[in-house]
């Protein structure tokens, strides 16, 4: 398969950045999207040109490192997969593919397709945990947890922190990310003790980081590679309201 690529190149955070056109030929259809970029980079290196910098690590869709905006969509056209799990057979032969970094004020570009997602770190540090120091735990079966609650918690905990929800949102809101953590911990009895403090602090940090507001367009859920549900946002709003009233 052959492709025309339009890739965002930006030397560093101070550089203005621009699109550069490349072509790539004879790519096998079972090549992953990132492997296609590997092939391009090998070609660039052979021509003494700087390879394209992009974030990636596990290449099996779980670490949340890869973060490519492909043809205007986070992680590309296929639902519920990360860019590393996207295969070239998804595209038409000869198609033009535009590749950009996440676009959000709170995720500044470091180089080419790599952004700084430190804002997510600081949101978790603001309250995305249960304060259970090592050694203080009772037996694992001491507190039975209804299966439905455990399942909801697990669904929410499946978030990989990639930032696609922010990139998908026209307001660059981080509500899906934040709500997934609030729901994961809030649904479990262990997490209820700090629920109020957690939701207030995480929301405050989210606002401080400059993420936009949620206007319920659900673009985040549509683009989330792990299918995190917007029901978590409803849960968060309820918790937030409750915390404000009590």
């Amino acid at each position: 398969m052959n492709f025309k690529l339009k890739i965002w190149r930006q030397k560093n955070s101070k550089d203005k950045g621009r699109f550069v056109d490349y072509t790539i030929e004879n790519v096998a259809d079972d090549t992953s999207f990132l492997e296609m970029l590997d092939i391009l980079n090998e070609k660039l290196i052979a021509n003494n040109e700087d390879p394209v910098a992009f974030d990636h690590d596990c290449r099996e869709g779980i670490c949340g490192t890869c973060s490519l905006h492909i043809n205007g969509r986070p992680h590309g056209p296929k639902p519920k997969v990360t860019a590393c799990q996207l295969f070239m057979r998804t595209f038409r032969d000869g198609e033009q593919i535009t590749i950009e970094p996440w676009r959000a004020k709170s995720f500044p570009v470091i180089r080419d397709l790599i952004t700084d997602r430190g804002a997510f770190e600081r949101i978790i540090q603001a309250g995305g945990f249960i304060s259970a120091s090592t050694g203080s735990a009772p037996d694992g079966n001491a507190i039975p947890i209804p299966k439905a609650d455990a399942e909801w918690a697990m669904d929410a905990a499946a978030c990989i922190g990639c930032g696609a929800c922010v990139a998908a949102c026209k307001n660059a809101s981080a509500m899906l990310f934040v709500s997934a953590k609030v729901a994961h911990l809030g649904k479990l009895p262990q997490g209820k003790v700090e629920a109020k403090k957690r939701v207030l602090n995480m929301i405050a940090q989210m606002d401080k980081e400059g993420f936009g507001s949620c206007t319920n367009t659900y673009a985040c859920e549509a683009e989330c590679p792990k299918g995190i549900s917007v029901a978590n946002i409803a849960y968060l709003n309820r918790e937030f309201l409750k915390a404000g009233l009590s």
Binding site: N12, A28, D57, C58, T65, F87, R111, P138, M154
Partner: protein, 637 residues
């Protein structure tokens, strides 16, 4: 130098208990005066950094990923073992201990493994308290499943994402400590050297991967939890960034390397599809609970799987190992797959694959139940192969997955450099020659939450440490070495990319030091690796500069270290003229092609001492003694 494993005396079930009492303590109000560096933020590193922070130490953690949450522990799928015996099926700490020593083919230390089994239960409690959403039954209690090498159900799991959930648990504890101000985490920083002052580990040299700045950090103790070195094979189930640099640099500064040839080849991975492939994807071993492994009886059978009748299928694991069946340990399952493919009975286009078939399980339990148990794995398989595993059997083949070898450590997890500790996959300690499924998560967290916090404290409490700053000449020398090496890599300006060399190295390793090894092949490997290394330093092309984000430069430094480690791995395999666990020497096998151990001559841990570039490393032996698990020919028949 003589190896001292520092195994405490006394009965095995009292060793850790007594040892903890004998370890020196640091007064809570003095702890913040001690600075501890932790490199790597996976299960071992993340848990250790968080726990040391909770205790009140001043901790600095480094990871090469942009966030501590992305360490490769996150990719572990199947589960974590613990001897809770919630299933009332006869499990106990002693049985988990016994299974692990046996599964490791009697090449692990009994005392370490017993401690691991003992701590397994505390780990589950700790993780539940942190909010890890383990699978539960309808009554609200924790669910379990079975894993290879065990006849009890002792594996706790969170769908097919157990590693992710456990890591997020450790990460949340770590984040809490960052907020408390006890821990500082530096993401996108790579450790490039350890600094030794007066014979003790007193800090590290790191490269800021965004600016390229080389920085020094001084400390009272350094913990390396930087994972395994499976990427020396190029294709593996490891993340692309996993590397040996931290432990290899430590090795070159005096830390002995234990059992480098013990590499785990995981039986259930998606087969290689072509030259462009950059990594291999694991399909959790838990699939063997319900999947049946088979190949056609006939050689070169090209019929579709559904057209091959029962009688013409060879369920070779069930046939050869009736008591464990599809749940034999990983090394046994991998070798058996290689054997049937070598016989010409492999399936798929490459013929280097076997079937893992769920048809019976779906018929018996229903599609919904299978989906609940393995849904995300099935989806992942379909994404990659474009085949639907609910309808067609999966095609699988073994791939490099885990390295049991690593830095040699004593019972305190301290390397041969005082003050330098190694935890998790980075050390050699608990899995012997083969790791059982769901034991890596257990070991990483045991080391991180429970062992290192006690033993690092014990070291700090009993060692006189003079004040050290990064102005010390030793830091300046190490910084200069690191910078010179970067300049050297950038100034070769040769013809070939770093990946070119990495792929070549991987092929040598897989062909000669893979699932089946022999003397002639290992000797060829050593010669070829040396030649490739020489060529690398003459002809590698690394573009760009040192003072910027430069992914080619990062890779080049790592591959340069793999090119050295690869040789040590092959030398260790050559030295070990026996088969044990994942290490199969063709010269040492039974009549029915099972691995044949040689306890008389090889019941020891190989600990290699670096003696200088181009100089043969020196082999030290730590003899293993077995008081409880009497070595016998491992049988899963």
């Amino acid at each position: 130098m003589a190896l001292d494993s520092k195994i405490p005396s006394g009965p095995i079930e009292k060793k850790w208990y007594n040892h903890k009492f004998n370890l020196k303590l640091v007064n809570p109000s003095n702890r913040r005066k001690y600075h501890i560096i932790v490199v790597g933020t996976g299960l071992a590193g993340g848990a250790a950094a968080a726990t040391l922070g909770e205790m009140g130490y001043n901790v600095t953690a480094f990871c090469y990923q942009d966030s501590a949450r992305r360490a490769h522990s996150i990719a572990a799928q199947g589960g974590i073992n613990a001897a809770k015996n919630y299933r009332n099926d006869g499990d106990s700490v002693y049985r988990l201990f016994y299974d692990t020593v046996k599964g490791g083919d009697y090449r692990a230390r009994e005392a370490n493994v017993y401690r691991l089994a003992e701590l397994s239960n505390n780990i589950i409690d700790q993780c539940v308290a942190q909010g890890v959403p383990f699978a539960r039954e309808y009554g609200g209690y924790l669910d379990n499943r079975s894993f290879g090498g065990a006849q009890v159900s002792r594996t706790f799991y969170a769908r097919g994402q157990t590693g992710q959930q456990l890591l997020l648990g450790a990460y949340s504890s770590l984040s809490r400590q960052v907020a408390e101000g006890t821990v500082t985490v530096h993401g996108r920083h790579e450790m490039l050297d350890v600094v030794i002052i007066d014979g003790k580990s007193r800090g590290v040299i790191v490269r800021d991967m965004v600016t390229g700045e080389i920085k020094s950090f001084a400390a009272d103790a350094v913990v390396l939890a930087t994972g395994g070195y499976g990427n020396v094979y190029y294709l593996s189930t490891n993340a692309k960034g996993c590397n040996t640099t931290a432990i290899w640099r430590a090795h070159k500064k005096g830390a002995f390397f234990g059992n480098p040839c013990f590499v785990q080849i995981h039986p259930t991975c998606i087969p290689v599809s072509g030259e462009h492939q950059s990594k291999l994807t694991l399909m959790s071993e838990s699939l063997r609970n319900d999947g049946r492994v088979w190949v056609p009886v006939k050689k070169g059978d090209t019929r579709k799987p559904k057209d091959i009748p029962e009688a013409e299928r060879d369920y070779y694991l069930e046939r050869r190992y009736p008591s464990f069946g599809n749940l034999v340990p990983r090394d046994v399952a991998s070798r058996a797959a290689k054997q049937v493919c070598d016989e010409g009975r492999g399936v798929g286009t490459s013929k280097m694959a076997v079937y893992l078939d769920f048809a019976d399980a779906i018929k018996r339990q229903g599609k919904a139940r299978i989906e609940e148990k393995y849904g995300n794995l099935f989806d992942m398989y379909q994404e990659i192969t474009d085949e639907n595993p609910y309808e067609l059997p999966m095609r699988i083949y073994p791939a490099i997955h885990y390295t049991m070898g690593g830095l040699w450590v004593d019972y305190n997890l301290m390397t041969t450099i005082p003050g330098l500790f190694a935890g998790g996959e980075a050390n050699f300690s608990d899995h012997g020659a083969n790791r059982l499924g769901a034991s890596a998560l257990m070991q990483g967290l045991a080391d991180g939450y429970f062992v290192l916090p006690s033993t690092v404290s014990g070291y700090l409490g009993s060692t006189e440490l003079k004040k050290v700053t990064t102005d010390a000449p030793e830091f300046k020398v190490a910084e200069k070495e690191v910078k010179d090496r970067i300049t050297k890599l950038l100034s070769v300006k040769g013809k070939y990319s770093v990946d070119h060399y990495h792929k070549k190295l991987g092929k040598i390793m897989w062909d000669y030091v893979g699932m089946s090894r022999n003397e002639a092949g290992l000797k060829s490997a050593i010669t070829e690796i040396r030649a490739l290394r020489e060529d690398f330093w003459k002809n590698v092309r690394v573009l760009g500069e040192g003072e910027e984000l430069n992914q080619s430069l990062e890779k080049a430094g790592r591959v340069a270290d793999f090119l050295e480690l690869g040789e040590l791995l092959a030398s260790d395999a050559l030295n070990r003229r026996e088969s044990c666990g994942g290490h199969f020497r063709e010269e040492s096998q039974t009549e029915d092609n099972e691995a044949k151990r040689d306890d008389e001559n090889f019941s020891y841990v190989s600990a290699w001492e670096y003696k200088g570039d181009g100089v043969e490393p020196e082999l030290h032996k730590e003899e293993l003694t077995f008081e409880h698990c009497k070595p016998s020919q491992r049988s899963y028949k």
